[in-house]
Symmetry: C2
Subunit: 361 residues, 2 copies
């Protein structure tokens, strides 16, 4: 471990694990070694990421019995069929219950590699090696895994905590601008949930972040991971406070599905969703109009959209929201804002208010 590396602990009792954060980690064997139980490692990745990093990971893992499952790139391949392909490969290669799955890529790869690890022989070890900003600050931490179904996003999946998360900041240099911005949506989410100070820090440092300054990025990612780790430690299975992490996601998932997966990036949909949540909060008198405006400004500064693409059907978005996982006993529960850094769960609003916000956007 280099002096400059950061280690963040996710405290979950017997399922606790560290997040390693630093530069060049992806090419170093000691980043992975503590998390590998036997000699068998299945690297799950996609074609795009494989071309950039697979050779580095493989040479870092010299001496292990490595096999790879390389999937096509894109959210539309996040299906049970793709995960079945990984499971077939694990069985064909006679991987045992003490093997390790290493998910190398963005959120889609992390979700599918993680779900395969969750289901193979009722659960094997998992290392998350997220290579996008979005997966580094969000999806690689917390144990949510799964796939989409034609009738809904992330509807099939499991909670499966990794043994370790390895975040190499250098991978962000190859990330396309649109995807970088999409990751910033989740970054801003952490500020809005419970960290007003971070919101101000983001105002001050947005230029450096967008220029991908390493020092700024390291501080930013570490802060997001710490904030997420704290929420997860309080509520691993999302019975309560962890649900705040869904800020912007109920609107966002519906927009993503209505637009067709891949047309609007997940982070972009979350940005639109957070903007809608801010709007709704201000309609309900929870948030000042000034704060709602500041939120939209910060999202725009990060290169993000704040309203849905043209031609989206309001009725379809509403129907998709009703099928959301956050519906309890038929009642839609949304994460709203009582202030910047003060998210709350709310289900006591008139359904008409939601329609109004969706319609106006």
């Amino acid at each position: 471990m280099n002096r400059t590396d950061t280690v963040i602990k996710v405290e979950l009792g017997a399922r606790s694990y560290p997040i390693l954060l630093g530069s060049g980690l992806i090419s170093r064997g000691d980043s992975y070694a503590p998390f590998i139980r036997s000699t068998q490692v299945m690297v799950v990745t996609n074609e795009t990421v494989a071309a950039l990093y697979l050779r580095k990971v493989k040479s870092a893992l010299k001496g292990y019995e490595i096999d790879t499952a390389v999937l096509p790139d894109g959210e539309r391949h996040k299906t049970l069929a793709s995960v079945t392909g990984i499971l077939d490969r694990l069985l064909q290669q006679r991987f045992h219950r003490d093997c390790t799955v290493l998910a190398l890529g963005g959120g889609v790869i992390g979700d599918m590699g993680g779900f395969a690890a969750a289901c193979y022989q009722r659960g094997v070890a998992l290392i998350q090696v997220p290579t996008t900003l979005l997966s580094q600050v969000d999806s690689s931490v917390g144990g949510k895994t799964g796939v989409n179904h034609p009738l809904g996003k992330n509807m099939i999946g499991a909670f499966h905590q990794p043994s370790g998360v390895v975040i190499d900041i250098d991978t962000l240099t190859t990330l396309p601008g649109r995807e970088f911005s999409a990751g910033m949506a989740e970054v801003i989410k952490y500020a809005l949930i419970d960290d007003r100070e971070f919101f101000h820090w983001l105002w001050e440092n947005m230029d450096d972040l967008m220029a991908r300054d390493r020092t700024a990025l390291c501080s930013c990612i570490a802060r997001c991971c710490r904030n997420k780790a704290r929420l997860i430690a309080q509520d691993e299975r999302e019975y309560g406070r962890r649900a705040l992490l869904n800020l912007g996601h109920t609107f966002g998932h519906a927009i993503e599905a209505a637009a067709g997966y891949g047309n609007v990036l997940h982070g972009e949909a979350v940005a639109i969703g957070m903007s809608m949540a801010a709007d709704m909060s201000s309609h309900l008198g929870l948030l000042t109009e000034g704060d709602a405006r500041r939120i939209r400004s910060l999202l725009r500064a990060a290169g993000l959209p704040v309203s849905p693409p043209q031609g989206l059907s309001r009725r379809q978005v509403m129907a998709l929201m009703q099928q959301d996982k956050k519906v309890h006993q038929g009642v839609l529960r949304l994460v709203l804002l009582q202030g910047i850094g003060e998210a709350c769960l709310d289900s006591g609003f008139e359904p008409g208010v939601v329609e109004q916000v969706v319609a106006c956007a």
Copy 2:
């Protein structure tokens, strides 16, 4: 709850749950009510069991929003495709995350209903209503769920503890004789693992049990559930002592797969496997030849086979055993017997001994 009902608690911290055991429970709404979180209940069953009990369960659940997934009967349908069918149904019917899956049937239904509950929206509530002796004493308790893969049994699955288990002893009256005997294999297993006194009790009461005397059956099933609950409480995820529950299963799974799923019943394969484990233990000087003989006699008294069917390929059985989940770092670990009621994990034997036992059987 009637005075005569038995309640056994499985102690797993936040995931603790009760097993209700008695007569007529299947037709009573209060058997299920404590375990249902909202109004949506998906009953997963098969054609055979549906014809016998679905109407009773449905009328016990009057007032709930009930839907059913009726699968074809048989181990060969225990596939990811069948589970996908259940998940499709849950989504089509717009079941929410607070819904409940009720698995009504034998081990195959419990494993698949349980796996669907584990994966739907990353985990929903599950009630196990086992209707075979085998599933009542074994598979409905402990949270193991999953499906078979062409390359191995139970290779895809999850740990997902139920909210409650409802065992209605009356369902055993409709169970075919061969399946009843198959369940007795798992009953005898509990005696062999760590309950010598129960072995003697089984000697004394085998005639009553085979005649399906209710009092004898109730005592017997309660004892098995208590023994299993104790082992699971010590080791939910099978890192140690819980592995003793696999007595006879490594041999058994290989025999089952080699014979073709469904040709040898799971319980029959376990009986053959326990007989092989006893043989091997006695070859290794762990168990007296007299005790090995007594074990075979009790198995025979329960109407069970003690050697594999004619024409099974020894090479195939050996190859299948090497792919077993109990292989650690390439070394096969077997559950052997140091005595009746004294099972132990062993991997320090010569591989030749295993071949010898498989060959001689």
